[in-house]
């Protein structure tokens, strides 16, 4: 409950259409409560723009509590801003100071074209999941949930990987626009669980292929993705993915199948 409010200068990326040229436009906004969230500050900016007869800044958001992965702003050069382990919607204005200038851009990555202002197209991430990020199993055919015990260690590790919110910050921060952290999280979760084992090799081959097909770059072990990830997905999963992929590849060479 802080009392002093903030007066800020915002440099916001404005772009009308995917094919249009974009540019930064500077706005002043005053009397922002440090307790308000970053997106609430954006709401107020938009109210101000509407009042002035301008078009509001388009941005993606939904849950506003860090779980849906929809919000996607690059704030002062960093996807989701510089605070670790936070999404844009979790960022609060108490992280800024009175008089600050804040630069707000969309997530920048070749596979994520800008659609308008701060809105980008992240459907290539869905394509990666569609290529193998699932377990093939028919509804209604499952055995009792306790029939196969899963050690707590594995269940916890699988949950660590499954926590990914699919926001794409890892791609946006990576100079190569690699989707390795995102892909490895889902692959590792499923490959680790007994239910996911039968499809392990196939999953590894298909998901890696889908990353290439969707225009994501290679991983050169820079590690910025882990630092930018709002839910702390670990680089260890990339190592697991590399291992699973290598094994699957070798098996494929020897058996010709996967």
């Amino acid at each position: 409950m802080s009392a002093k409010t903030l007066n800020l200068t915002l440099r916001v990326w404005r772009q009308k259409k995917p094919e249009a040229a974009g540019q930064f436009v500077t706005y002043k906004i005053d009397k922002i409560s440090p307790d308000s969230s970053f997106l609430e500050m954006m709401d107020l900016l938009n109210e101000q723009l509407i009042e002035q007869g301008d078009e509001p800044v388009a941005f993606d958001h939904d849950c506003r509590e860090g779980i849906c992965g929809m919000c996607s702003m690059t704030i002062n050069g960093v996807p989701h801003g510089k605070n670790r382990l936070q999404t844009t919607c979790q960022l609060h204005m108490r992280s800024f100071s009175d008089g600050d200038t804040i630069t707000i851009e969309p997530f920048r990555a070749k596979p994520f074209p800008v659609m308008r202002d701060l809105v980008v197209d992240r459907t290539p991430l869905d394509s990666i999941i569609q290529s193998g990020g699932y377990i093939t199993q028919r509804v209604g055919s499952a055995e009792d949930a306790n029939a196969v015990p899963i050690s707590k260690t594995i269940a916890d590790k699988a949950m660590d990987a499954a926590a990914c919110i699919g926001c794409g910050a890892c791609v946006a921060v990576c100079p190569n626009a690699s989707a390795m952290l995102f892909t490895s999280a889902k692959m590792s979760q499923l490959n680790m669980l007994p239910q996911g084992k039968p499809e392990k090799d196939r999953r590894a081959l298909h998901m890696v292929q889908a990353m290439d097909d969707n225009g994501f770059g290679n991983c050169t072990n820079i590690g910025e993705c882990e630092a930018a990830c709002p839910v702390g997905i670990s680089l260890d999963f990339i190592a697991m993915m590399n291992r699973d992929y290598a094994v699957a590849k070798v098996k494929k060479i020897f058996s010709g199948a996967a």
Partner: protein, 645 residues
Amino acid sequence: MKLDSKIPEGPLAQKWTNAKFNYKLVNPANKRRYSVIVVGSGLAGGAAAATLGELGYNVKCFCYQDSPRRAHSIAAQGGINAAKNYQNDGDSIFRLFYDTIKGGDFRSREANVYRLAEVSVDIIDQCVASGVPFAREYGGMLANRSFGGAQVSRTFYARGQTGQQLLLGAYQSLSRQIALGQVKMYNRHEMLDVVKVDGVAKGIITRNMVTGKIDRWAADVVVLATGGYSTVYFLSTNAAGCNVTAAWRAHKRGAGFANPCFTQIHPTCIPQEGEHQSKLTLMSESLRNDGRVWVPKKAEDCAKNPNDIPEDARDYFLERKYPSFGNLAPRDISSRAAKEVCDEGRGVGAAIAGVRRGVYLDFADSIKRLGKNVIAERYGNLFDMYENITGENAYERPMRIYPAPHYTMGGLWVDYNLMTTVPGLFAAGEANYSDHGANRLGASALMQGLADGYFVLPYTISNYLATIPLGQAGKIDPNGPDFEEAENNVRSMTDKMMSIKGKTSPRSVHIELGKIMWDNCGMARSKESLTDAIARIGQLRERFWNDVCIPGEADNINIELERAGRVADHLEFAELMCYDALDRDESCGGHFRLEHQTEDGEAVRHDDQYGHVSVWEFNGVGKAPVKHIEPLEYENVQLGVRSYK
């Protein structure tokens, strides 16, 4: 409007089995000829689309987000119930059924609730098979917690992210069907009308939220799984984009709306901090397992540091009023108790409009008993979330919580098969009214969403499709006059809103509507407050339609146009909620009429007059709706007064 609940014959425990046996089947080779539209990709819609695709139907699925994985189900924290009795603590299908009926204050349909409890066990099996990493014990078995008013441990969870994991499980199955070409997914498409041909639902109209293009989609059957309407209060725990549009426009096309006034105000949310606020954040109810709720006994202590208030100056009001359930009393009861103490001037935290609206949720005793590490392991992410939002450390200072709109039990009326009063139009998940009566128990919405999507709709939709002759399957003409009329309807609404070019922003109208609803149709309602609300909503609606301002064009991404459409629907729907609340002259569950309470403030039901579902028929904007009744008959439970004392 004819209400035929289509409850199957036979004893309660046999009804679903009998129904399934009697349902007609579609020959596997013919399934691909039938087309299905599913609006919504949350637990209900995502699971339904994936399963219907898997069965071989030709499915189209729509959502307004940029990916089906972002549906609001993703935000559920606490867990999902199932009558597995893995804890050997006396749980059973009948007990889950009974708890749900009783928790709903005897305002739901027995047969539906029993089916829900019955399929709950299959849901957990299905989820584990699809890779959901539920919490486990060291021995490798699934872990459970007790949750929100249940005296058995039947809640399965995945850390504090159960909804996320369940939704991603369904999303993965959906993704597989998308890859196989069984489901075609349309992201960033908002459904704006239902199309009826000869009185039967045969399609929808959508707006492409990127290009603004208005499209017609035809199908043999339409499913709405579009979530709840808590955002009618503006501030709620729901995602900012949640809305009533799909359900409301279906209602205007003839789908009866059931019990719209049954809304759930969740007791454990972070209190409002100021006027800038755009949403309220839920703190999982599981916190009440280890936290104690209190306020100062004396109003003059309220501004003090809580750690300086001695034990004997604290009022642990839930433990005092409800000794046997204590801090775990059901949601409606806990919320109301918190409101009461704040109304008495004993609330804590920042004062908004002169009243402190917050109560403490204190972990000091649990930390002393179990150690900080145990508490951190159980709730660490919630404590972090709390600190991030409020700037306060809940290990050292009690959390502040206050009730917030969270879930809506009301929704489109459906029969046992989940079909609305419009033939061919089904409703699932939070969008329908079916299972929770006047109050929903914790961890039961996820259960219902997945029950509807994985296990109920696949049967009932097949049964419906089997009545459509093969020769007609998939042969609906989207160029027919009904599609034309619906498309024009959507276009003219958009044009009208765009052309006003006034001075009022859609968001400011939404905020104002939210205040009217929270003050007049929130935790406490009266004839006076509701009559007042109806008048004020009408005035606000008029202002909206005379003075709304939507900058930009309709053929581009236009966030204000999207918002304005949703606000316009809320402005009509809110009135229906108030009419329903006014008509229901009793207190029950989340619906508390000040006129109907005992001396110590407990709700008083009137089963003789209101032991029914109120189903409303649309009668024109600004006109009183027409009421229809589905009587509720209880053959297996004895109606009683809920007592948690």
